[in-house]
């Protein structure tokens, strides 16, 4: 992975880093920020962010996640958002645009899942993969669903964060009646059956 994400021009507009007092402008500004976050995460296949906006998990294994250009800071113009504004932006992303969710609503410090692809779309991808490989009704381990090289796992699903995978299954596929989760004797998730 050699290419770097190209931020849109507004990322070098200094006032972008200050919460605007005019509410109409602010709502536009928050939309711009959320666009940047979603494009950035999609580019690097980042599915979760820490609370401070730094990347937490990416599907791209070779990516050194700590050396990516920061989202909320622009050194070339010497600007960065403060913690408070950062929280406002993330709040907008979660509650207004519904493009993110806390990993654990009881522990917001754990960070957020970012949905540049919605849970429904993820669920569909997963279902299509299992269906097209004739594995409907088979119990599959989390490893088989995210890491396996043998069964033609598509790139879009490769290395998917297991936490997110479970969320996709629980919040979408199970509700659709399309999946079951099987626990092992240690009360951990032993496998997933998609039907």
């Amino acid at each position: 992975m050699t290419t770097e994400f190209v931020f849109p021009k507004i990322h070098t507009f200094p006032p972008l880093y200050t919460e605007q007092p005019n509410s109409t402008i602010l709502s536009n500004q928050l939309d711009s920020w959320c666009q940047i976050i979603l494009q950035y995460c999609e580019f690097y296949k980042i599915t979760s962010l820490n609370r401070n906006g730094t990347p937490k998990y990416s599907q791209i294994e070779s990516l050194s996640i700590d050396s990516l250009p920061p989202i909320f800071e622009n050194k070339s113009i010497n600007r960065s958002t403060n913690d408070n504004f950062r929280n406002v932006i993330i709040h907008h992303l979660i509650y207004k645009l519904k493009k993110a969710q806390y990993i654990d609503p009881k522990k917001p410090e754990l960070g957020i899942y970012v949905y540049w692809r919605s849970l429904v779309e993820w669920g569909q991808l997963l279902y299509d993969y299992v269906d097209s490989t004739g594995q409907l009704g088979t119990v599959l381990t989390l490893y088989e669903l995210t890491k396996s090289d043998e069964s033609g796992l598509p790139d879009s699903l490769k290395n998917l964060d297991e936490g997110l995978l479970i969320k996709i299954v629980k919040d979408y596929l199970i509700k659709q009646g399309k999946a079951q989760i099987l626990m092992n004797e240690d009360n951990e998730i032993g496998g997933v059956k998609i039907v």
């Binding site: 507009f13 200094p14 006032p15 880093y17 007092p21 005019n22 109409t24 402008i25 536009n28």
Partner: protein
């Protein structure tokens, strides 16, 4: 047995694909033929369309059903002769300009540079009509009968279009001077710059700037050098 069933299935789906591809091709050719016929029709029967209400309704309905904006037809038929534009052209263009102004108001507070306006018009136009800034001015003159809602301003030799914002307030001279200074300074002003250049006292700076923030004409930046607040004009983003 099983094998041949699979072969059949593959052959059928292949056939199905090629049939539906053919259909799509044919349909899109038909549609584009129809579109150009419609354009010709509109330019030939322009007067009839204009004068006959029932005919016009039917025509508009037809346009809508195949996804053509009648306004675009008007623009196109009015610009067929590139030297002499017809009234139709200017009127349709004026409507387009108003649309762009409405769409961008929340971002720019009601002041848009002609350069930006032209590039947005170009983006939205599927028939690729060349529009110049003179033509924009001319079509705005058609709107004068509706009151002075749209006005061309000259700021540092650049043309801007000012349109009344929802609050109805116009652009004051002071606000205009703030924009002038912004364009000298590469996009922003500070209280100090306003004081040094115009000898405004603090109260005047604050009154003018606060109102401009309220109207969305400038954005605030609290992280300027030496802790000075900077006030930026938003068209910087698209320039």
């Amino acid at each position: 047995m099983n094998y041949s069933w699979q072969q059949d299935r593959a052959a059928y789906s292949q056939l199905g694909r090629s049939i539906s591809e053919k259909h799509t091709d044919q349909l899109s050719t038909q549609l584009s033929v129809f579109q150009s016929a419609l354009i010709n029709f509109a330019s030939e029967h322009g007067n009839e369309i204009k004068s006959n209400l029932e005919f016009r309704n039917k025509f508009t309905h037809l346009c809508n059903s195949i996804g053509i904006d009648p306004l675009e037809l008007l623009l196109y038929t009015g610009s067929k002769n590139s030297k002499i534009r017809l009234d139709n052209f200017y009127i349709a263009l004026a409507v387009r300009i108003i649309e762009v102004c409405q769409q961008t108001r929340d971002l720019n507070g009601g002041l848009i540079s002609i350069k930006e306006l032209l590039s947005i018009l170009k983006e939205n136009d599927s028939l690729q009509i060349n529009i110049t800034s003179n033509e924009i001015e001319k079509s705005l003159s058609y709107l004068n009968t509706l009151g002075k809602g749209y006005e061309i301003l000259n700021i540092n030799d650049k043309k801007w279009l000012k349109f009344s914002s929802a609050t109805g307030s116009g652009i004051s001279n002071d606000q205009k001077r703030v924009y002038e200074l912004c364009s000298f300074m590469g996009g922003f002003v500070t209280y100090k710059l306003l004081r040094d250049n115009f000898e405004w006292d603090k109260v005047r700076c604050k009154t003018v700037i606060d109102e401009m923030i309220m109207n969305g004409l400038v954005w605030v930046d609290t992280q300027g050098e030496n802790g000075q607040y900077q006030y930026w004009e938003p068209s910087w983003i698209s320039n």
